[in-house]
Structure formats: structure tokens, C-alpha cells
């Protein structure tokens, strides 16, 4: 039996029992009495599968209004993850971004069978580029643009690296865009589909872009790391791609790895082996078009040499 898809199911069907959402390699049961949360899920997870009650569920998330007098003035929501409340309550309008952050938290706080890095991951013919970067570097913008330009999205937040095989596991999810990037991507790629922007979150204005159908269909296909590129948006530089020393790349990557310290020596040797197997660059850019062309060049070059 092919699993049902989110698209085509009305939000009200979820209000009672929630839904078991497959976002490989993880399964989330999501519950919420808030219809607008389901509107956002139906839009950004349209191509994802929902599973029946016999499925192995990794995490149960419930997003619900906080009771009390405040609900009449400025209502709040909070999120329980299997009985734990990892975040403070937020204004109800932020319920959907809260859900996305909660899903990330589930993975980063438990999935230590992977070495996890804070980075976007995309693939060209199953060869992956890892884009590690702190917030504000333009990583998400670049990730959304590459996704809309034929690259396969693995994740906009999390590189899940198997320490044994050094292969990257996809964790396809909606791409989180902030502030000016929302309009930028919307204008550059009319086919991109967003959830309604939510204002005044801790990250500013936030909207989530639906991943391409192709990326969702391939969400169980592992990719082999090929490039490690540290992006930095700089309005004064059109485009600059500079090779990077491997030793420097290991140190920089370690700073972005969530559970590097927990892994100890194994973490160090894994990152070392990863960096050894890829080309390392620093990318400084302000022109999205030139950056996209450069990525295309990299992808095609490798495909040529592989033939």
C-alpha cells in the first residue's frame, strides 16, 4: 500500500488525532487544535507521506494554546515533545515556526548515531555540497535558490553524517527563510511556494518554502560528500570562490557540529576523514545569479570527470 500524502487532506481531519508525518529518516506524530498550523503543514509538507497507527513514531509533538487569562488578550502556545517542554511559550501566531524548531530540536538532541553539523546540504547527481554557516551568512537563501535551480535538497539546517560510511542522510524539510530573503527568493523563483510569513519571531520575519517534489521523492537516497563550501554574503563582493586549507576546514566545520564534543576522538577522526574526501572552499558573494552559475559549473565539472 502506498502511504497517503498530506496534500488533498483537509486540515480539519487532523484536529482530533493529529497526523503521523514521515520526514525520513524520522517519524513525527504532530497534534494541534489550531487549524492555521494545519494549513501551514498542508502547504509545506504537501508531498510528504503520512503513516498509519502501526508505524514506529520517533517523536510526539503537541502544540496547544496556553490556558489562562492571557488567552483573551495575547494568546500563547507551547509545545510538548513527549511530555517535555524544551521552549518557552510563544505568541500563537508563531505556532508553525515553533513546530519546525521543535522538530529540529528532536533530532539534534537525540540522533547521535549521526555526526550532526549545522549546515545546508544539497546534491547534484547524489554528490553532496555541505554549506556550513552561522546565522546571517546567507546560507538559507543560497540553499533555497539552489533547491529551485535543480539541486536536490537534503536539508537546509542539518548535515546528518554517518560516521562509518561517511554518507549524508537527507532530512528533507521546508526551507526556513528570513526577512529580505523571502521576497528575494519569491521574485527570483515564481514557482517557489511559501507558508504565510510570520512577523516578529526571535529570528525576525520567517516563512517556510516547500521543498521540491523531486527532493521529497528522493528523501531516502543518501548522498556522498563532494564539496564543503563555507558561504558568506558580502554586499561588496560579487563572487569569490577561494580554495581553503583542509586543516582550517576541519576546525571551522567542528565549530558548526552540534555533537562534535560528545563524540570525542571519534568526532575528530570522522570530520578529518570527511574533509579529506571533499574539495573545500570559502564562498563570498552578493550576486545570487553568479553564485548559482558557479555551483552549476562545479556540478558539471565533476559529472564530466566521472564519465
Amino acid at each position: 500500500m502506498t502511504p497517503a500524502r498530506i496534500a488533498g487532506i483537509l486540515p480539519r481531519d487532523f484536529l482530533e488525532d493529529g497526523v503521523i508525518l514521515l520526514a525520513p529518516p524520522f517519524v513525527f506524530r504532530i497534534r494541534s487544535p489550531l487549524p492555521f498550523v494545519w494549513d501551514a503543514i498542508a502547504s509545506s509538507y504537501a508531498d510528504f507521506s503520512i503513516l498509519d497507527d502501526y508505524a514506529f513514531v520517533d517523536f510526539e509533538l503537541t502544540i496547544a494554546p496556553v490556558n489562562g487569562l492571557r488567552r483573551w488578550v495575547s494568546p500563547l502556545v507551547n509545545m510538548s515533545i513527549d511530555g517535555v517542554f524544551p521552549f518557552d511559550a510563544l505568541p500563537a501566531s508563531q505556532a508553525y515556526p515553533l513546530l519546525e524548531w521543535g522538530m529540529n530540536w528532536c533530532v539534534t538532541s537525540t540522533a547521535h548515531h549521526f555526526l550532526m553539523c549545522h549546515s545546508a546540504v544539497l546534491a547534484w547527481n547524489d554528490l553532496a555540497v555541505i554549506l556550513p554557516a552561522p546565522p546571517g551568512s546567507g546560507k538559507s537563501t543560497l540553499c533555497a535558490a539552489l533547491t529551485m535551480s535543480g539541486w536536490r535538497l537534503l536539508s537546509d539546517e542539518l548535515a546528518l553524517l554517518d560516521p562509518e560510511s561517511l554518507m549524508l542522510s537527507p532530512f528533507v524539510r521546508p526551507v526556513s527563510l528570513k526577512n529580505a530573503s523571502i521576497e528575494l527568493i519569491g521574485q527570483r523563483f515564481p514557482a517557489a511556494d511559501f507558508t504565510l510569513p510570520v512577523k516578529d519571531t526571535i529570528k525576525g520575519e520567517v516563512a517556510h518554502m516547500r521543498p521540491t517534489t523531486e527532493s521529497v521523492l528522493q528523501s531516502r537516497t543518501l548522498a556522498k560528500p563532494r564539496w564543503l563550501i563555507f558561504p558568506q554574503y558580502d554586499k561588496d563582493v560579487e563572487l569569490e570562490l577561494k580554495p581553503m586549507q583542509k586543516a582550517e576546514a576541519v576546525v571551522e566545520l567542528a565549530k558548526n557540529a552540534f555533537n562534535f564534543r560528545g563524540f570525542g576522538a571519534k568526532g575528530f577522526s570522522t570530520l578529518g576523514a570527511l574533509v579529506d574526501s571533499v574539495d573545500c572552499y570559502r564562498l563570498t558573494y552578493s550576486s545570487l545569479d553568479l553564485a548559482l552559475a558557479k555551483f552549476k559549473e562545479l556540478g558539471e565539472e565533476v559529472c564530466k570527470t566521472n564519465v
Binding site: T62, D82, G264
Partner: protein, 366 residues
């Protein structure tokens, strides 16, 4: 395996901890629930390592196998880091001619207890003699261990009434450290004598430069912590610690007599009786009934009450949403109040709680 009715109504996690072989018949959905309950109770690694000898890993769902790999990946480095920190602490204290006595999780790990491999610990707990406390604190502070309580009332409260310094944290590494001079507060209902505990401590088998409590004292301290402090979230984890120590150290009857005698010496008969009762009730620990038997023979069995069962049965269910039952929230509140009631006399408790409540309502800069 046939389960009786009471067992069927138990949370899945408890059933599997008691009868790990039952995991063989779980479907995918139940495995998911089992892992989520275990994660909530902080015992995933402990639970999976109990299942492994009965149900081979390759028969588990993929995600359960991965959860076990995740636990293994962080366990080794957690242990290595602990050894590193403890060596560092031993060196600092050696400059004051003090040998620290490691307590609880750190002690179990240092003693290479197999059950400690997957045990998380939020902090390192040390016991030092009261007359060396000031010197130890100075030495620690000058080596980067700073207090985490900035509030002057908190400082006063810990130093005047508690059995430990205000919690410390290493300025660079963030490791948390509790330095105790007793295992229960000075004002507590039960008064285990620290001098006796310290006199019986012995060099750790894992590290010659530090000590651990004698086996009986290690068990009794675990029980005192579990049944006197109001730490509900880890109640099941802490009961499992007792179960594992019990299986490791005391299963034969002659050793139980030693344990009971020691409980009498240390004024800890009530916590020992409770430990025996709930190891048997909740985890079906082999021969745990012996404790009550020996205590009765010796005429030192304290009276346990029905409300104890109401209170602790609810707490040991765990706090995953699928385990919650009517009255559990109330039991949790009562346990919190009880822990305070055991900690200090009533007039002090009223002062303390009023003080804390007043601070809550004051403006931050007030």
C-alpha cells in the same frame, strides 16, 4: 509470557525493564512508544542494553538499533571526559591534602559498574570533610570552578542549611560540580553521620587518587537521595540505579544483614525500607523482599503507609504523556512538599518558602 492484570496496565517501559524478553513480541508502533517512554525517563541506553541479551539487535526495528548506536557513540566520550575531570579535581584537592569521595553517577562510572555505561549525569558530586570545606572551596575557585548562584539569599541558604556548597561550574568547560559535606541537609529529619561515611570510604578501583563510599553506604546514599529529595523526573532512573547496585552487591542474604545494620547506624532505616519496597513493587528486583524480612527480624522495620504507595507508585510510572494517570500531578506536588518537610523543621520551611515567594513577585531590579 503470561502477564497478570496489574502488569498489563503498567507502562510498557516498566514491563520491558522487568521482563526484557517481552520486547521480542513488540510491533513497530510499540517499539516507538517504548523508546519514547525511555527517553522521557532518561533510561534509553539502560533499557536497550537490558533487552539486548534477550532479543538480538538485528531483530529490532531500525530506529531502535540506531537509538542504541547513538547511546554508544556518546557513552565512551562521556566516560573519558569524566575521568579527565575527576583527575583534575583530585589534583586540585591534593594541594589541600584532601581526597575527594565521589558520589552517585560519577562513582558508579568510576567503579566501572556495567550499568553505569549509559547513565547520564548532569553533574559531578563530591563529598569532603566539613572541616576542609573552606579550603577545598578556595582551591576550586582559584582553579576556575565558580559558583552558579549569584543571589545572596541562595548563598546564605546553601551555606547555612544545606549539605553542600552552592552548585559550581567550570568557567571554560561548563562541567557542573556539587561539593557536599553531608549526604542530607543539616536540618533534615534523618541524620546520617558524615564522619562514619568518610571513615568507611575506600580508594576507587578505577582511580587510586580518589575514594568512593563503601558499598552499603553507596546504596544507602542512593536511597536517601531518591526518597528524600523531590527530584521526580529521574525517579525511575534512580530506582534502577538502586536495583543495579542491589543485583551487583547484595543479593545474598548475609550481605543484606550488613546493609540493614549500616542503615541503623546511619539513621537511614526508612529510606532502606522504601528502597526494598519499591524495588520489589516496581522492578521485581530479585530477593528485594529480603530487606523487609531482615529488618523485621531485627525489630528495626519502620512503619510504611498506604500514602507512600499512592505517592511513589505514581512517580515511578514515569512522566511520558502515555504513562500519566489521574492524581499523578498531585502526587508530584506532594512529593515536592514532602522533600521540603524532610529537609528542614517547619518554622524554617515557612521562612524559606515565603522568602522564595517574595523574590518571585519582586521586580527584577528591585
Amino acid at each position: 509470557m503470561m502477564l497478570n492484570k496489574a502488569e498489563i496496565n503498567q507502562p510498557l517501559l516498566i514491563t520491558v525493564l522487568r521482563f526484557p524478553g517481552t520486547a521480542a513480541s513488540l510491533d513497530e508502533a510499540s517499539w516507538g512508544l517504548l523508546i519514547r517512554q525511555a527517553r522521557n525517563a532518561n533510561v534509553i541506553g539502560r533499557m536497550l542494553s537490558a533487552v539486548e541479551p534477550y532479543v538480538a539487535c538485528h531483530k529490532w526495528p531500525l530506529r531502535a538499533r540506531e537509538a542504541f548506536i547513538a547511546e554508544k557513540n556518546i557513552a565512551d566520550h562521556r566516560f573519558a571526559s569524566l575521568i579527565w575531570e575527576v583527575e583534575e579535581l583530585a589534583q586540585i584537592l591534593a594541594s589541600e591534602n584532601t581526597r575527594p569521595i565521589l558520589l552517585k553517577g560519577a562513582a558508579y562510572a568510576l567503579e566501572k559498574k556495567p550499568f553505569a555505561r549509559f547513565r547520564n549525569f548532569g553533574d559531578i558530586d563530591l563529598l569532603v570533610p566539613l572541616n576542609q570545606l573552606a579550603a577545598v572551596e578556595r582551591a576550586l575557585v582559584s582553579n576556575g570552578w565558580l559558583t552558579t548562584k549569584a543571589d545572596s539569599y541562595d548563598q546564605y541558604y546553601y551555606r547555612r542549611w544545606m549539605h553542600e556548597l552552592p552548585p559550581m561550574q567550570h568557567i571554560h568547560r561548563g562541567t557542573n560540580l556539587d561539593v557536599h559535606h553531608a549526604i542530607l541537609p543539616l536540618t533534615a529529619r534523618y541524620k546520617p553521620d558524615s564522619d562514619r561515611l568518610i571513615a568507611s570510604a575506600r580508594p576507587s578501583t578505577g582511580m587510586a587518587s580518589v575514594d568512593v563510599l563503601a558499598p552499603e553506604d553507596m546504596f544507602l546514599h542512593g536511597a536517601a537521595h531518591l526518597f528524600c529529595e523531590g527530584e521526580c523526573e529521574n525517579a525511575l532512573r534512580n530506582l534502577l540505579d538502586l536495583h543495579d547496585l542491589w543485583i551487583d552487591l547484595f543479593e545474598d542474604k548475609s550481605s543484606v544483614v550488613g546493609l540493614v545494620n549500616r542503615a541503623v547506624d546511619l539513621d537511614l532505616t526508612v529510606v532502606l525500607a522504601l528502597a526494598g519496597r519499591y524495588m520489589e513493587h516496581v522492578l521485581d528486583s530479585k530477593n528485594a523482599g529480603c530487606i523487609a524480612g531482615v529488618m523485621r527480624d531485627k525489630g528495626v522495620m519502620p512503619q510504611l503507609f498506604t500514602w507512600h504507595d499512592w505517592l511513589f507508585d505514581a512517580i515511578f510510572l514515569g512522566f511520558h504523556p502515555s504513562c500519566q494517570q489521574k492524581g499523578q500531578a498531585l502526587a508530584r506536588q506532594v512529593l515536592y512538599l514532602r522533600s521540603h518537610y524532610l529537609r528542614m523543621p517547619f518554622y524554617l520551611l515557612v521562612q524559606h518558602l515565603l522568602r522564595k515567594a517574595w523574590r518571585e513577585v519582586q521586580p527584577v531590579n528591585g
